[in-house]
């Protein structure tokens, strides 16, 4: 009853209040349970990252200092160390990691650019135009996301071997476009679908051409979605391992491939591996947080929205 009277006064507040009724929030027990379980989950989420991040600044002796089993005070060993950059130095000076970062950067930005430019054009066309077999075109575009990467890669390897794109950056860019293009096209189409057509119609009445309406009205309005699509394309390409390993070969190695090579049959270079892992993940976490608002819409190709 109390919730009902609030609803008439302040609908927004009532909305927040009613959501709590899903899991009876009011009881202190539920409140404590919420805090405790979420705290446990956050520790579980961050612990691997924290341990690896700290280890990347440790010497081998410090990084391998687990205490005897059952010695719980020994957990503090994780935080006991003299910060050193020796692992990063090894990574760049001895293992020569710069080119890998550069390759990953060029391939992911290049492919994301192609995917987003063509995707934006195509998305607007598909969203506004009327086509005979629109359903078929849509199904085809979505279905390309279903194909497991390991499956696509076999014929792609064969084709690239014949036309000489193996082990080159352009080849890697094309390979990434296989998943980026359909992804960005479909995602951006969702953003164009959401725009009210009236604004564009008003521009037509003012005498603007199709192209002018597209570039001056539609694209600026859909800009946040287009940026989100671009960022997600970069993220998926930068993180990719399979295409880089098979198509990129030894002349277009990216960071994920480079890391796996620090683990040889002779030894595992844990120090450099940990620092390379940190270099691999930090920029992507930053990018992900940047487009956090569109993350769910992006990763479900527009099927679920926050």
């Amino acid at each position: 009853m109390a919730a009902k009277s609030r609803e008439t006064k302040a609908p927004r507040k009532a909305a927040a209040g009613a959501q709590e009724t899903i899991v009876h929030k009011r009881t202190p027990f539920m409140r404590i349970l919420t805090v405790v379980l979420l705290a446990v989950w956050i520790v579980w989420t961050l612990a691997p990252l924290l341990i690896t991040a700290l280890s990347s600044f440790k010497t081998a002796r410090e990084a391998f200092a687990t205490p005897t089993y059952g010695d719980w005070k020994g957990v503090w060993n994780i935080f006991r160390f003299q910060p050193t950059l020796v692992n990063f130095r090894t990574l760049f000076l001895i293992e020569g990691f710069w080119p890998y970062i550069w390759h990953g950067f060029v391939a992911s930005i290049g492919s994301a650019l192609i995917a987003v430019v063509m995707g934006t054009l195509g998305a607007y066309g598909l969203s506004r135009g009327k086509f005979k077999r629109e359903g078929d075109i849509s199904f085809w575009i979505i279905s390309t996301r279903m194909a497991p990467a390991v499956v696509v890669i076999v014929p792609l390897y064969y084709i690239f071997r014949r036309i000489g794109l193996l082990s080159t950056l352009p080849g890697l860019i094309v390979a990434y476009t296989t998943f980026n293009l359909s992804f960005s096209l479909w995602l951006i189409k969702g953003f164009f679908d959401d725009l009210p057509v009236e604004i564009e119609e008003a521009a037509f009445v003012d005498g603007d051409s199709h192209w002018a309406v597209f570039t001056k009205v539609a694209v600026p309005l859909a800009a946040p979605g287009i940026v989100a699509a671009f960022v997600l394309c970069v993220l998926m390409s930068w993180n990719d391992f399979l295409f880089a390993a098979v198509i990129g070969g030894h002349r277009a190695k990216t960071v994920p491939v480079g890391i796996t090579e620090l683990r040889t049959t002779v030894e595992v270079l844990w120090g450099p591996i940990n620092s390379a892992t940190i270099i691999l993940i930090i920029p992507m976490i930053a990018l992900g947080v940047l487009i956090r608002k569109y993350l769910i819409q992006g990763l479900t190709m527009g099927a679920v929205r926050e």
């Binding site: 009902k4 009613a18 959501q19 009724t21 899903i22 899991v23 539920m30 349970l33 919420t34 379980l37 979420l38 989950w41 956050i42 989420t45 961050l46 612990a47 990252l49 341990i51 690896t52 391998f64 200092a65 687990t66 994780i78 054009l121 195509g122 066309g125 598909l126 506004r128 135009g129 086509f131 085809w140 996301r145 279903m146 194909a147 497991p148 990467a149 390991v150 499956v151 076999v154 014929p155 390897y157 064969y158 084709i159 296989t178 293009l181 993180n239 391992f241 399979l242 994920p256 796996t260 993940i281 992507m284 976490i285 992900g288 947080v289 956090r292 993350l295 479900t300 679920v304 926050e306």
Partner: protein
């Protein structure tokens, strides 16, 4: 009329490029699956008919791979579903701190699967891994190594997947929870239904579509990626983590049998599509019944 051609024109480049990079390889995959593809470029391929497919079904590693993949996909999905739902419910309880906490929770999703593999390879190491130390300290593990044990290794790759992708489920379910109609909740509350009943009668039916999408995308992605397995176990020990997807990588790029790899890939693709379609149909029927 003119408008139509403009939209057609700007859709054209994407369609042509997409056809070249998806339909053309797909066509080649089917052709290759009927050939014995030469290991070197320039040499002649030999037509072998359905021999590659026949060979697949005589290959015990291929058949075993399905069992392992089933275990890996099934357990991961169930655990991620339950944990994801629980976290979504709790996140839904938060008010001011919701944004910060949700952002922290979703961090693992942004991390390269290869990096996730190395995080856990390090944590599970039997001489200096902190998770290994923890498991030994609380007495769950008596001896031996995690990634060297046939059962523990499967558990390890599942744990890595759960760590990275439970946030995805949680976030999708959270979006679904926010869309449960308030009037239905209020009505149920006025009827005096206990929270558990309210959950099953009001919340769950309203979330069917979100659940279908979440499980479906997760299913297709577990079939897609082999990166964490490649880093953590390379299919071992003794093939205990050699899923069908992973074995495809072995066949095509370690044994360099591209024809067999194409046949393998084609079967894998068909099965993925059939399972996904079946799942959608079942859920649709259930959704209608409600």
């Amino acid at each position: 009329m003119f408008g139509m051609s403009f939209y057609g024109w700007i859709l054209m480049p994407a369609v042509i490029l997409l056809a070249f990079i998806t339909l053309y390889p797909c066509f080649w995959m089917i052709v290759m699956s009927l050939l014995k593809v030469s290991t070197r470029p320039g040499m002649k391929n030999e037509f072998v008919g359905l021999a590659n497919y026949a060979g697949l079904f005589k290959d015990s590693l291929f058949l075993q791979g399905w069992v392992i993949q089933g275990k890996y996909v099934g357990i991961s999905l169930v655990v991620e579903f339950i944990l994801g739902f629980a976290i979504a419910l709790f996140l839904n309880n938060l008010k001011r701190s919701a944004n910060v906490i949700t952002t922290i929770v979703l961090v693992p999703m942004m991390i390269a699967p290869v990096a996730v593999g190395f995080l856990y390879l390090y944590l599970f190491n039997s001489s200096f891994g902190w998770y290994y130390w923890f498991l030994r300290s609380i007495g769950i593990l008596r001896q031996g190594s995690i990634l060297g044990d046939m059962n523990w290794a499967v558990a390890a790759i599942i744990i890595a997947d759960v760590w990275e992708w439970t946030p995805f489920m949680a976030l999708i379910f959270l979006a679904g929870l926010k869309k449960v109609p308030l009037d239905q909740l209020e009505a149920s509350k006025c009827d005096g239904a206990p929270p558990i009943r309210r959950f099953f009668d009001v919340v769950l039916p309203n979330m069917v579509s979100v659940i279908v999408i979440g499980v479906l995308i997760r299913f297709m992605d577990i079939m897609r990626y082999i990166d964490t397995i490649f880093v953590m176990t390379t299919g071992g020990p003794a093939g205990a983590t050699k899923t069908v997807s992973y074995y495809l990588f072995d066949v095509a790029f370690r044994f360099f049998d591209l024809g067999r790899g194409a046949a393998h890939g084609f079967v894998l693709l068909l099965v993925t599509i059939i399972i996904a379609q079946a799942f959608v149909n079942i859920m649709k029927k259930k959704g209608v019944q409600r």
